[in-house]
Symmetry: C2
Subunit: 343 residues, 2 copies
């Protein structure tokens, strides 16, 4: 069985870890062909940033560290038990920013990545090397950046003279805590970006495509914006099943609300489902959102969406697998798309 997940950072990484556990507890036989399940994670690269001359890929690293057992569990990003000697010294040299807390162990990832990129390796190749360090192949997991083309999400915010300016996504998200009102998100390089090797194939040939509870605008939305990805989702024969990143109209963590508002999208599980309407086949929401009006043909399952710990994420992933397994052939979006032509 082949599963492909489109993932952002913390929420995506935690859900994927639960998915790996759920699959291990309930091996391939019960899901289909008896072969071990192969999981491909397509990671967002829109929030990548170059700091101190080093290339940092926060979402890819959160997946690597979380799956590899090296993540700082409290933060959901960075390395457990990390120190910050290098960053403190850089501050003494007047080299910032100081608001992006890179630890010494974490920095090794960025030094190696920058070294390898400088040697001519693609981000995919670099990510494969990092994934070996973190044991992802042994977990049956392959991590692909959505694109090897450098892209960067910028956020349009008010400037001090009543106009507007664009700042890097990380400055908006980390430094300002997404409190500056955003009027738009732009992604430098996106129109010219091409999907990384294997990305479209992983969506097209999957038996199941999963959308973890990642930010629908600046994580999943960026992945969908890479030319070809959305078409692959519309065209794949696999069911596409997602988990709402919102509970009762509020993000579980992060700032999805501040990202949805500028798009004029309702800050709700139903609003997010609407963003995926052209390819979504099943939608897992919280009990709090069970009563909302969803697209009429969309199978919606209500559960407890909160991933309090690894067992909680494993339970949630298991429920997503159950929802996917219970979809009748021909249900959902493709039933609409492929239905008889109107008379």
């Amino acid at each position: 069985m082949q599963i492909t997940a489109l993932s952002g950072g913390v929420g995506g990484a935690r859900f994927v870890r639960g998915l790996v556990q759920a699959l291990a507890a309930s091996p391939g036989a019960s899901r289909g062909d008896g072969e071990p399940t192969q999981l491909t994670v397509v990671g967002n690269t829109g929030d990548d940033i170059t700091l101190f001359g080093l290339r940092v890929c926060p979402d890819l690293d959160s997946v690597l560290y979380t799956l590899g057992g090296g993540v700082d569990e409290d933060q959901g990003w960075g390395r457990a038990g990390d120190t910050h000697a290098l960053l403190a010294e850089l501050a003494k040299l007047g080299v910032g920013p100081e608001w992006f807390g890179l630890g010494d162990r974490d920095l090794a990832t960025h030094v190696a990545r920058s070294l390898w990129l400088g040697q001519g390796l693609s981000l995919s190749q670099v990510t494969e090397r990092l994934a070996r360090r973190w044991g992802l192949p042994e977990l049956g997991v392959r991590l692909l950046p959505v694109t090897d083309t450098p892209i960067e999400t910028h956020v349009v915010v008010p400037d001090e003279e009543g106009g507007e300016r664009a700042i890097h996504f990380q400055e908006w998200w980390v430094r300002h805590g997404a409190r500056l009102p955003a009027s738009a998100f732009t992604v430098a390089g996106l129109a010219q970006a091409t999907p990384a090797p294997g990305v479209l194939e992983a969506i097209r040939s999957a038996d199941l495509v999963v959308l973890p509870p990642s930010n629908p605008v600046v994580s999943i939305g960026i992945i969908l914006g890479v030319p070809g990805v959305r078409d692959a989702l519309r065209g794949t024969r696999a069911p596409v099943v997602g988990v709402s990143p919102l509970i009762g109209g509020r993000p579980v963590r992060g700032h999805a609300d501040a990202c949805l508002a500028p798009l004029g999208v309702e800050v709700s599980a139903a609003g997010v489902a609407g963003l995926y309407a052209d390819f979504l086949d099943g939608w897992l929401v919280d009990h709090a959102d069970a009563g909302a009006p969803y697209p009429s043909r969309l199978p919606v399952q209500a559960t407890d969406l909160l991933m309090r710990d690894v067992p909680g994420a494993t339970r949630l992933a298991g429920e997503l697998l159950d929802l996917a397994g219970g979809l009748s052939p021909g249900r959902g979006r493709r039933a609409v798309d492929a239905g008889p032509a109107a008379p």
Copy 2:
């Protein structure tokens, strides 16, 4: 008063620190014009190396850290109390070499330097920024790399098939402890190198030029090899006074013996003086070497050369200043050069 010192790494940095202390204890008035003494240190860059994509300048950093109070006193290089989290992580990623022990605090210097070089600053400009961090201007010290042109010393050693191969100086020095027999030293980029801004002027306009007890081949020798530097030393009106790096035919630290042998130069204080014969005006040697045959017109002073601690280095620097102050006008090399033409 203007003093210019040509310095390598540990020995040079420690002597220069002693010189700063000696000058502070015996201010300008006693040395000449009453103005505070300005000390320019011209640093060797031949042992610079790019590791993990980061530019490392070991000799410049030893001067910075030693003068700035941040050096690991036991090693003579690197930062006091440094940790090694980043390097350990790089090793887990298969990124070496592991034999060059860069600490997390030390690495901040290399990250900042690489960032600034990448932004288009010259090594001189980068070094000036680093010198401000370490308070060198407040000490009346200016640190100049001998050249902004990237140069790298390579060592020709036997290969496993009876032939020869060239390895980076640091691999020979640090990894192999200079135990591989060297047949030659070559310096990539040296012929095309130009002295960094201020270097020649600092030698020409100095009131005194000092050669600390640095390696005569791979430290001072590299500085002398940058086109124009040796001519400036020959031409300066300042006395050039040096400290032998050898005591009783053995280096105090480092591997000057392994560096002199391939040149066919006697491993002795007199042998090293011979390398500087065309510009040397005074030579400070150890009591153990007092009886050796030195060039007949070279003023030689014997003392205890061992710098056991900062007071010891200060004492030695004071003795060098005394030797320089006691040189009669017209003594030494220039007496020979400028003497009456032979009949």
